[in-house]
């Protein structure tokens, strides 16, 4: 997600601006009464800000921007998972940078104002170091910060491989030009002890210890396989039976899914088809059986679990007292 706190609509209240794996940019307006209901940020044509792949909640499935009726979803399209507001062209309003899961960064200029934004309808991919910016390992979310105190906003990007990268701005105010990346945190490696983010690095940049330089706060996770005592002969037999049950359940679920597809083919919307499925007593009973079976399977043969954490990387570089905050 990578939330950014900024007065996006210039009403005097700090807002929350971000994007999720849905593939679209969101605004949560702040107010004197607290946070308002999240809303999509839309472009001049009324479409949510997104790059390529997105999840259509109404259709309960992925689509890509510009997908024609009957056309297959192109899962290779870039998938927006982060968004930050930034006055790219120094015209006094917030433009938007959209980060893609695949590693690219895309600019949406705002031809309006903060109070009445008018975002253009096309994305322009951002470059760095003379080629398209592409965060190795995939981009989680960019953070904007004047890292080196030169008056220009730099980019600090986390990666799904656990690394963090700095892109210095070597351009000018209103005309950013990012240099090739510098690795601030190398990619994660699996170790015995969970002492750092190994994957999924989301970063913020802040002088947390207030010593005059910028530190990194990095969230991430790793997969851990829970330890379990060896199974008894009885448990082993039960495990075999449960696995057979799960396989039979899978086959039954496929049959229900096929029935939903048939409803769609007959003219129902995907949402209507799934709604009908959720009301089907047979389907609901199957889901209950599946959950119970899965629960017991997890007890006998626990699957790897995601364990997360958030870490402070305190900067100890000598003589960077000129570094400024956000």
């Amino acid at each position: 997600m990578g939330p950014q706190f900024v007065d996006f609509d210039a009403d005097g209240h700090v807002d929350l601006f971000t994007a999720t794996f849905e593939g679209c940019a969101f605004l949560v307006r702040g107010s004197a009464d607290g946070w308002k209901t999240p809303e999509h940020v839309r472009d001049a044509a009324g479409d949510p800000l997104r790059i390529g792949l997105y999840y259509d909640l109404d259709a309960n499935g992925y689509r890509h921007v510009g997908q024609a009726e009957g056309e297959d979803v192109d899962y290779e399209r870039p998938h927006c998972v982060s968004a930050v507001a930034f006055d790219w062209d120094d015209d006094g309003d917030h433009d938007v940078l959209l980060g893609s899961k695949e590693g690219g960064l895309y600019l949406r200029l705002n031809d309006g104002t903060n109070g009445a934004p008018r975002f253009v309808t096309s994305n322009v991919r951002v470059s760095a170091g003379g080629s398209l910016l592409e965060v190795e390992g995939g981009l989680t979310a960019p953070k904007l910060v004047d890292w080196d105190g030169d008056g220009l906003i730099d980019l600090v990007c986390g990666s799904f491989d656990g690394s963090v990268h700095l892109y210095r701005n070597r351009g000018a105010v209103g005309a950013p030009a990012f240099a090739a990346p510098v690795v601030l945190v190398p990619k994660g490696e699996s170790t015995d002890a969970f002492t750092r983010p190994e994957t999924g690095a989301y970063v913020d940049v802040v002088d947390l210890d207030r010593d005059g330089d910028l530190d990194l706060v990095v969230g991430g996770f790793r997969m851990e396989s829970p330890e379990r005592a060896p199974l008894t002969a009885e448990e082993q037999a039960e495990l075999v039976e449960l696995e057979a049950t799960m396989e039979a359940t899978r086959v039954e679920m496929e049959a229900f899914a096929k029935r939903a597809d048939e409803r769609v083919a007959a003219g129902a919307t995907p949402a209507e088809a799934w709604e009908a499925l959720s009301r089907d007593e047979g389907y609901r009973a199957l889901m209950e059986r599946s959950e119970a079976t899965y629960g017991r399977l997890e007890e006998l043969r626990p699957s790897p679990k995601r364990v997360s954490g958030v870490w402070l990387y305190r900067q100890e570089t000598v003589d960077v007292s000129s570094a400024a905050g956000r």
Partner: protein, 102 residues
């Protein structure tokens, strides 16, 4: 490159993004943040933001997660910048704030 107690990135030598005379960017070994005395283990894809949400001059820890929830934790008075109070979901009216995901 790892040296005792410090992570050193020879920035100028890596990819050309740092000026030649810049000192290498160094970070101490990472220290886990805690909330309510425990590591922040339970969130999926925690994405941190450090911000003074309530305007009291102190920096809160805000965390987004994969499911579209947002959490916050207040700093403790102890002076330990890595220690925060219990995390709680940010509210949108009477309900927890939730952004669509998939």
């Amino acid at each position: 490159m790892i040296v005792p107690s410090l992570l050193v990135v020879p920035a100028a030598a890596l990819l050309g993004g740092d000026p030649a005379d810049a000192p290498p960017t160094r970070f101490a070994d990472p220290v886990p943040l805690t909330a309510g005395g425990a590591p922040l283990e339970g969130l999926v894809y925690p994405s941190p933001a450090l911000v003074d949400l309530d305007g009291d001059g102190r920096t809160e820890l805000v965390l987004g997660d994969l499911w579209g929830h947002v959490w916050s934790a207040s700093p403790l008075q102890s002076g330990d910048v890595t220690a925060f109070g219990e995390r709680a979901q940010v509210q949108c009216g009477p309900e927890p704030l939730k952004l669509n995901n998939w």
